[in-house]
Each structure stands twice: as C-alpha cells, then as structure tokens.
C-alpha cells in the first residue's frame, strides 16, 4: 500500500505535497485504499493482472491490440479513459466528478480513479487528471470523441487552463463497435456490448448509469460517500471493459476470431480504410458461415467489378443468385455484365427475364416507382432480343 502511495506521489510530481493531506471536512465513507492527493481530490488506485479472467474473453492480447488497431487511432502507450459526470445534457453546465484512467504497467492494467469531492476544487482535479495521463498516450474511450474529451476541453477552458492534450491519438471504440454490432445488438451501449460480446456480468453492487448524477448530488449534500461505492465500481468496470473490448476487437480485425458476421464487417472496416487485400481476405473467410455468405459474395463481386475482373464478378453474382434469395440488383448486374462485358447475350436475356418475373411477383413492394422500373427491364429485354436477332442475321 505504501509502495503504491509513493508511486502515485511521484506521478503527481513535485507539486504534490508530501505528508498526508486531510480530506475535506465531514466527507466520509470513500472507498478504502485511496488517498487525498490535493485538497478535494481523492485518488483510488487498483491493479488488475492481465492474466486474470474478465468475462469470457479476458484481457489477453491487450498488448498487441494497439498496433492492430492503429488505423483507427490505436497507439501505445494506451490510456483508457472514462468519466462519470453530473449529467448527460452536455454544454457548459455539466462537469465530471470521477475520471477513470487505465494504463498498462508491466503485466497489469492499473486503474486510477480521480474523485472530485467539491466542484470548487475542479482546477486541482483537472491538474491531477492531467498528471496521471501518461505523456504521448493514446486515448481509448467509448464515445470519447463526442463526450469525454470535449467535456474535458470545456472544463479546461472554464478553469482557464491550457487545452487538455490537444492532438492526442484517440481510439474511440464506440465507432468500431457500431460498425461490428449495429445490426446484431439491440443497442451499442457499452453495457450491451459488454454483456453480449465480452460475456461480462456486472456485480450487483454496480449502479445503473442514469442514477449516477443524483447519487453525486446527494453526496454533495450529505458528504457521505458510501452510496458512491457503486459508482467507483461502475467506473472501474467501464475501464476494464474498455480494455477487454480493445483486446477483443484487436483480435477480430487481426482475423484471429472468425465468426461469420463479425468477420464480414471487419472486412468492411478494412475496406473503409482502403485496405482492399485485407478486406477481401476477411470477406472470403466470411463465405464459410451461412449467415454472412450472401453479403460476402456481393461484396467480393462488387470488388471484382471495381477491379474490372468481370469473369470473377459474374461467377460470384451467379453463386449469389443460385444460393441466396434472388435480388433485382444481382440480376441487373448479371444482365449488364453478360451484355456489355462478356457479350453473352442469351445469358443476359435470361437474367433480364428473370428480373422482370421477379419484379412482377413483388409489385406491391415497389410502390410508385414500380412502373418506371418495369419499363427499364422491358426496354433491356427488348434491346437484348434485337441484338440476338441481329446476330442471328449476321450468322446467316
């Protein structure tokens, strides 16, 4: 314990007064093991060895994750950051009273939680947070781009401090989580992702997020921090989940985990970065799983189309046509490619006629554009028939 305190004091630098700083008068029942590092600022440090289990996935692979996620802002050393605030309203009237700061130290994730015991000590609190975030660290957050970091900037301006770590690298896992699980999870809130993806079950002492502002408001009134124990836990678990999620997502984009839909969408992530080779590899892997096969075929086909590899594209679309639900888009692509690229008019005609049948069978779904679309198909069929006739004449 003393070890930890002296290390903390070192981190806080020479400004941190030696000796014991008394807490604000009347404040009681803060979590054990922490200490006042400045007037009104309480820091609680915990250490979590990486080999310890966490949910179903654990923290293994965390050390590799930054490099794997570098296209999305991952960089070492990481600084996991999560704030508990007096509200979600945003604007200048919301402040943070608890910052969870997670860093990798040896084979452990060390979480330092900086607690603000009175809004009048915000300047000291900001100073402490700034000192505990390693220089050159890359932030890892969940919605930090829109919430946590702008909030810290706002508070820095209000406290007339210099901007808080401008231009730092930042990996916002919400963005990646949305890309991977938007369609398969009811929401992409951290709690949901944590439960469904990481298999983490929160302990009962944890408090739901919406209660946190009023718990803190109560504390300011009573100075009894006992009801905040759950908030400290909540914040610490958020940091652990951030770390576990980062490790897990790192494994997904590295292709270590192959689970149909995720693999497909990981391919999309690479594609969005212009990494086509990687994207194609992921999409090919996604062919094996029945739930992602159809979409994977289409993506591979449209990539082949973009590269003007028409034979491959047609082959993929044909596979999609035969093995998946037929779609107008695929039939149109096939008709076009057969007609204009491969000069296989009979096949083009056959796909076009199939398209028309398909359209007619689902008239109700197309609404007002139906007639127009039908005209286009008829026109295509007409043209193909003429072309075929003309060729027959030429052969004669």
């Amino acid at each position: 314990m003393n070890d930890r305190m002296s290390r903390l004091r070192r981190m806080l630098g020479s400004n941190a007064p030696a000796g014991k700083i008394p807490g604000p008068e009347g404040v009681c029942n803060l979590p054990e093991g922490g200490a006042w590092t400045a007037p009104g600022v309480f820091v609680l440090e915990t250490s979590h060895p990486l080999e310890e289990p966490y949910g179903e996935v654990g923290l293994a692979g965390l050390s590799l994750a930054a490099e794997r996620l570098s296209p999305w802002g991952g960089t070492d050393p990481p600084c996991f950051l999560d704030l508990e605030t007096t509200g979600l309203a945003g604007g200048t009237g919301t402040y943070a009273f608890l910052a969870g700061i997670g860093t990798l130290e040896g084979q452990a994730l060390v979480v330092r939680q900086v607690f603000l015991a009175s809004p009048s000590r915000e300047a000291e609190w900001l100073e402490t947070v700034d000192r505990l975030v390693p220089r050159q660290a890359g932030f890892v957050t969940y919605n930090g781009r829109r919430f946590d970091l702008p909030l810290l900037q706002t508070r820095a301006i209000l406290a007339r401090r210099t901007p808080f770590r401008p231009g730092s690298a930042h990996l916002d896992l919400l963005w990646i989580a949305r890309s991977l699980w938007r369609c398969s999870l009811p929401s992409c809130r951290l709690g949901e992702v944590e439960r469904s993806v990481l298999g983490v079950l929160r302990e009962t002492e944890d408090v739901p997020g919406w209660q946190i502002p009023s718990l803190y408001a109560d504390f300011l009134h009573t100075k009894d921090a006992a009801p905040l124990t759950g908030v400290f836990l909540h914040n610490r678990l958020d940091i652990l989940s951030l770390a576990a999620l980062k490790a897990h997502v790192g494994r997904i984009v590295a292709g270590e985990i192959s689970r149909g839909q995720e693999t497909l969408l990981a391919g999309d992530l690479w594609a969005a970065r212009g990494e086509w080779e990687l994207a194609v590899t992921f999409w090919k892997n996604a062919l094996d799983a029945p739930e992602s096969r159809g979409e994977a075929l289409l993506r591979l086909a449209s990539r082949a189309k973009a590269e003007r590899r028409w034979e491959t594209a047609v082959e993929l679309w044909e596979q999609s046509r035969v093995t998946c639900r037929p779609s107008l888009t695929v039939l149109e692509e096939l008709a076009k490619a057969y007609e204009h690229r491969l000069n296989r008019l009979e096949e083009a005609l056959s796909r076009a006629e199939e398209g028309l049948r398909h359209l007619d069978s689902r008239r109700g779904l197309h609404g007002s554009s139906w007639l127009q679309e039908r005209q286009a198909w008829l026109h295509r069929i007409e043209r193909l028939k003429k072309k075929i006739d003309a060729r027959k004449v030429n052969f004669r």
């Binding site: 007096t86 509200g87 979600l88 309203a89 945003g90 604007g91 200048t92 009237g93 919301t94 402040y95 009175s118 809004p119 009048s120 900037q153 706002t154 301006i157 209000l158 502002p213 009023s214 408001a217 300011l220 009134h221 007002s368 554009s369």
Partner: protein, 755 residues
C-alpha cells in the same frame, strides 16, 4: 404604338377622391432634402467598396451612428424604412475587422428570413472589400457539418435570439474565438423586443454580457428600431447601459401624401358601408394599371389571398398582365419569398399584397403607393406600413382604407386622433421573477455565480439561495455550481408560440407529393382544418386531412368559387384558485379554443353560401389568470343585459390598455376576456390571463395590483375628453352604443369594493 399616358400619383389620388365614399383626410408632407455627414476615418478598402455601391458619403443619421459605434458607444438608430440603416452597423463592423482581423461581430434578427436577407446584403458589400471576411448565418437550418467552421472562422455570425439562448450561450466554450474578440452586437428590429419577449431578450443579453466578461471582451451594441415613443428607454432597459440616440433622418424624401378613405355608405339607415376589400382592390388595380408600384397591407393571411385574387381578376378584365402582382405572407416557402423579393427589387413584380410580414426590414426597394386595408392595430405599425411607400425622387402616397370595424370607422371620422396619437410605448420587465429565475438558471449553467454577484442590475442573492435549496445549484466556497442533470435553456422558450410549422402538401399526384406552403402550428386549426379552402398565390386547394402528429396538411388543388372562414370558440376555465379577495381571485386557468364551424363565402360577392362542421380536438393552454367576478349586489343588478355587456366590454377594453402599464408587458402578452355568463362563477366575470403556457407571473401581478389597475382604468376613463366613448377609453364601439356612462357606473362601484 400609342400608349395611354399614365396617371401620376397625384392624379391617382384625385381619382380616389372622386370615387363614391369619402376621403376623410388628405395630408401632404413636404419633401425633405438629403442631409449628409462625413465618414469618420475609415479603411480605404471599405470606402472604396462603398463607392463601388454608389455611396460616396453617409447621411447624417448614418454618420452619427457610425461615429458613436466606432467610439465604442452603444447606439440606437430610429429611422424609417429604406433610410439605409444597415450601413449604420455594417460600416463599423467591417471597419473593426479590417483594423483587426481577429475581431468578431454578432447580429441578432428576430427571424431566419431577415438573417438571410442581411447575409445577402453584407456579402454584397464585402464583394468590394479586398479582405477575407467570413459571414455566416447560424440557426436551426445550419448544417451540422458547417457549424464548426461558423464557430471558429465566422467574423460575422448572424443568428436569432432563440438560437443564442439555446444553441450558443450554453455552449460558449465552443465559441471561444467569438467571445474573446466580440466587438459589436447588432440588435435589429429592436421595437419587436417588448413585453414578455423583450423581457426574455434583456436577460439573454445579461447572459451574453456575462460570458463576454469571462472571455475579456466588452462589445458595443448597435440597435435599430422603427418609430416607437421611447426608443432610448427600451434600449437602455434591454442593454442596461447608456446609449446614444440617433433620430435625425438624413435620407432625402420627396413629397408624401397620406389619405384615409372610407368606402361609401350603401345603406344609410343601417350605417352599412361598401366592402373595404373591394375598395382596396379597386385602388390597387387602378394604381397598377398606371404602372404605379404598390404594396397592399391587410390584416390576415386569408385576406392576402382574397385581395390577390380580386386584383388579378380586375387586371385580367382590363387585359393587363396579372402576374405583375404577388402575394407575400407567412406560410410562403423561403424560395418563393426570395423570388418575390427579387422580383420587387428588379421591377418584374410591380405590386405585392402582404400581411405585416413585410413590416420587417426585408429589402424590397421603395414603392410609390401603400394601401392599408384596415388599421393594423397600432399607430407604430400603421406608420411603418405607410413608410413602405416613399421615394427619394417623386411623390409617394399612403392610403388607409377604413374597414367596417369600429376602430377604423372611428379613425375615419376623427382623423386628428390618428395624426395626433404618439406611437405606442414599448415596455419590458427583465426582473419579472418567472422570467428572471429561468435565466438565472441558464446563466448558472453557463458560468458559476459567486456569492454577491449581480445579474445585470438585478440582485439575485435570494434566487441563488432558493435554487441551492432546490438542489439545482450547489454552493461551495462562495460559488454556485450547476448541479441538476438538465439543460435549462431547453426548459422554456423566449416566445409564446412554438416555431413549429405544419407543412401543406399537395397529394394530387400520388407519385410526387409537393410542398405547397406552411402554416404556424397555432393557426393551423383555423386555416387548414379538413375541408378548408386554402389559397396560396391565389391558387385554391382543399384540405383533405390535417395530421398534427406528422405536422402536415394534405391538400388537393380545386377550382373554388368560395373561400372558407372558420369560427373559433374560446373558453376559460378555472382549474385551481390560489388566492381570493372578493371580488378578485387568481389561480390556474385553462384557456381553450376550438374551431367549430366554417362558412363558405363566395369569392365574387362575399355572400354566405353554406357552412360545415369542423371536427378537431380543442387546443388547450394551461396558464395563470386573475379574475374579477361581478356580484349581484352592484347597482347594476337591475340593468338590462345589453347595458351589462357593454359595461363589461368597456371595462375589458380599458384594462387591456392600462394593465400592460402596471404589469410591464405588451398588449399581446395578456388575454383579457369578459364573459357575461361565466359557467364557473355563474356571474359575469372578467379574466386577465397570461398568454403563455404555464404563465409568466402577469396574472399574479394583476391580482396584487388590483387596486392600481382599477384606479388607472378609472383615471383613463374620466380624463378622456370624449363624450360617449372612444378607442382611448371604452373602445371604438363606445361612441355608437354609449358605453362610457355604463362603464363609469360599473367601475365606480367596483373601486369601492376592491381592497
């Protein structure tokens, strides 16, 4: 080809005089030569740009205003329309940015349309200035992707008070560049910031100044106002600082005629006069036929369309192009409005029929003739509408066509009242507790208060303590920090009505629905109820469905020979009594309204050709109201019902005029209704209710000041020199039914009973 020589404006007026009916007054205001001032020391890039636009030297009022502003004195400019007031702020603002490119300015206009107009005007001036000066509008229409750029790069940010209130001040840390370098704040159309809206604005300015002080800036305010009787007082109440008042208009003006025309008596014994609508259309048609540019003002949106239809029909009958006249009113789409404004400036459109939407400073150039279809309700409005006609060279005229309303007839019979009356006073009460508390919350959200801080001039220590008690604020070491999990600026609106619109959609082509226009939410039940005929640009549509959830009205074009006019039923219901002191009380009331039936009125003849029922839910507003229940013990117990109702109406009219004085609000902020048979009290009852959801403390103040209210009503009544009653006391109808005496008797006994 020989053209019929066109009538000059004087000949047109003689033609009006020769018509049946009577011109009750014809005043001529002489021409006035331009009075010029000199530019203060300005950057050559600016004077060059001004010269490019043909401006070699400033008019006197421009020079005075620019000089004051550059010396960092806040200034209020009061000059008529088209006197070049935009230069009064654009010159100092551009000059300050040329001197220091970091400088910023904030322009506040009451509507988004005016913001667009001003952006165009400023951009045109800046085209000639060789410097990089960025101007943007910032309002609900600004794309999220453009917002960051506006915040950091905009030298001039053009917005409205509502956006400043909810979108800018609570997020001031995103606007550091603006607030650190804010040199000028422009407040145009200042006369509109009166009553409750003005009281809100005054508090928004307090918040703005507080934030500026935090970032170390102290902007100079440049205000522009139409004529009101107390511009300096209003500006100083809004800004809480001394202002330089500039009123000497230096813009040249040619001769101007003002006429009041009363349509002829068609039934002398019943006193019925010819239609003022027909008369207005006839005058406008004759003017347009003689190539005289004309603006017609009327009181309602329906009347805009009716007049437009009539004038176009008249023009067609004379084989003249009917598209030379356009309508212009709230509910036209922004691009439609832009096209009409452009057409007016360019001369392709020679005539326009408008509601008071064009009273505001939209630039449409200067016109030769203004025809007012009826008195617009206030002296200030009347002069502002008349001011739309006025040219630097060549005579202009304004004609007020009296409608059959009592007030119009009164003005026609006693025109000296119109010319003698001073324009209305604008009042604000920034320290109205309801309004103040709401803004103190917003201000505390924006920056913590210290113990002992004032908010503008207001001592708010009690409010801060109260908010601490409510745990909205948390006090620590002498500072009050925002502690609630809410965004106070979104908790209330600066205006009584929502800014939401119902969109009017033509569904005749199922494949392509098109938006025809829009109508504000409160007016929708009256104007676009199912089966209503909705006119837009003189084209008729019938409403198929009014969908409040989707905020849309579905219409189909029709050939309609009639228009519809809905009847509104209004009721007031006491929900809870907070206090009572016979015969007064106050509490929570329900103000409910519902259109019940509509009449079909034939366009050509104005005759009633049928009616229909309207099935819509009641519109309800919970607010606070004070009431005065009239006991049977009054001497009026044995009066006949007519006398009772005219006395009650006379008293309501008196209070409507005098109460705003004591409650420090605008007439429109208060609903005053006399009910001869009130279902709740079962006695005749007079209500004074806040015209705002939830109330803003006016009813409570009315209850507290009940004695003063009756005393001042009494003063107004007995000091009025009229004999039987007039608009200044018991109402214009008073002279016809002699209600002054009845009101006097009622008021006298009420004063005796009110403690």
């Amino acid at each position: 080809m020989l053209r019929k020589p066109r009538k000059r404006i004087e000949e047109l007026l003689k033609w009006i005089e020769s018509r049946p009916g009577e011109v009750s007054v014809w005043r001529t205001f002489p021409s006035q030569a331009a009075a010029f001032g000199t530019w203060p020391a300005l950057d050559a890039r600016l004077t060059n740009a001004l010269a490019l636009r043909g401006i070699e030297r400033p008019y006197l009022h421009q020079a005075e205003a620019i000089d004051a502003a550059l010396r960092k004195k806040s200034v209020v400019v009061v000059t008529p329309t088209a006197s070049g007031k935009t230069l009064c702020y654009n010159v100092p603002v551009v000059q300050s940015i040329l001197e220091d490119p970091a400088s910023r300015a904030l322009y506040l206009f009451p509507t988004k349309a005016l913001s667009q107009d001003q952006l165009a005007e400023l951009t045109a001036l800046l085209e000639g200035v060789e410097a990089d000066i960025a101007c943007f509008t910032y309002d609900g229409d600004t794309a999220p992707s453009a917002r960051t750029k506006v915040r950091t790069a905009g030298h001039v940010v053009i917005t409205n008070p509502d956006m400043l209130h909810t979108g800018i001040l609570p997020h001031h840390t995103k606007w550091v560049k603006l607030f650190e370098n804010l040199r000028y704040v422009v407040l145009d159309e200042m006369h509109g910031y009166r009553g409750v809206f003005g009281s809100h604005l005054a508090n928004v300015i307090r918040r703005l100044k507080r934030i500026c002080a935090f970032y170390g800036s102290s902007p100079t305010f440049i205000c522009c106002s139409a004529t009101i009787s107390n511009p300096r007082e209003l500006a100083e109440a809004l800004l809480e600082e001394p202002v330089v008042l500039v009123t000497r208009n230096g813009a040249p003006r040619d001769e101007k005629h003002v006429l009041i025309q009363n349509p002829p008596l068609v039934n002398r014994s019943m006193g019925i006069r010819g239609s003022s609508l027909d008369e207005t259309a006839a005058i406008a048609t004759e003017a347009l036929a003689n190539e005289i540019s004309t603006i017609v003002f009327t009181r309602s949106r329906t009347n805009v369309e009716l007049l437009l239809h009539r004038i176009r029909t008249n023009l067609q009958a004379r084989a003249l192009p009917s598209n030379q006249v356009a309508g212009y009113r709230g509910g036209y789409l922004p691009n439609e409005r832009r096209a009409i404004e452009k057409g007016l400036r360019g001369g392709q459109i020679r005539g326009v029929v408008s509601t008071n939407a064009l009273e505001l400073g939209i630039d449409i150039g200067s016109l030769e003739l203004a025809v007012l279809h009826g008195y617009p309700g206030s002296i200030a409005s009347a002069w502002q509408q008349m001011g739309r006609a006025g040219r630097r060279q060549g005579a202009s005229a304004a004609v007020l066509v009296a409608s059959s309303f009592a007030l119009d007839q009164f003005l026609a019979s006693q025109p000296s009242y119109f010319f003698g009356a001073s324009p209305e006073r604008a009042r604000v009460n920034p320290d109205n507790l309801y309004i103040l508390v709401n803004h103190v919350k917003c201000a505390a959200f924006e920056l913590p208060f210290r113990t002992g801080d004032r908010f503008g001039k207001a001592d708010i220590s009690e409010i801060l303590e109260y908010l601490e008690e409510q745990r909205v604020l948390h006090r620590a070491e002498g500072r009050y920090h925002w502690q609630a999990d809410s965004f106070p600026a979104e908790g209330f609106s600066l205006r009584s009505a929502t800014s939401e619109n119902v969109v009017i959609i033509d569904i005749s082509d199922p494949a392509r629905h098109t938006v025809v226009g829009e109508v504000d939410r409160p007016s929708a039940p009256m104007l676009v109820h199912p089966e209503a005929i909705y006119f837009h640009g003189a084209k008729a549509y019938q409403v198929q469905e009014l969908d409040f959830k989707g905020m849309r009205a579905l219409v189909r074009p029709v050939e309609a020979e009639y228009y519809t006019d809905a009847d509104l039923a209004v009721r007031l219901e006491v929900l809870e009594e907070f206090d009572r002191s016979e015969p007064w009380g106050w509490g929570e009331v329900l103000f409910a309204s519902r259109p019940t039936v509509y009449k079909k009125i034939r366009l050509a003849t104005q005759e009633n050709v049928g009616y229909g029922h309207i099935h819509l839910d009641e519109e309800q507003m919970h607010t606070t109201g004070a009431w005065l229940t009239l006991p049977d013990s009054l001497p009026w117990g044995n009066w006949d019902p007519d006398r009772k109702s005219s006395a009650l109406a006379g008293l309501a009219h008196l209070l409507r005029a005098t109460a705003p004085l004591f409650l420090m609000c605008d007439r429109g902020d208060l609903q005053v209704h006399g009910m001869v048979r009130d279902p709740h009290f079962e006695r005749p009852t007079l209500y004074l209710a806040d015209n705002f959801p939830g109330g803003v403390g006016l009813a409570e103040a009315a209850f507290t000041l009940r004695k003063e209210l009756l005393d001042s009503a009494w003063e107004a009544l007995v000091s009025c020199p009229c004999e039987k009653g007039c608009p200044a006391c018991v109402g214009a109808l008073g002279s016809q039914i002699g209600s002054k005496e009845a009101t006097r008797a009622l008021l006298s006994s009420l004063r005796g009973m009110t403690a």
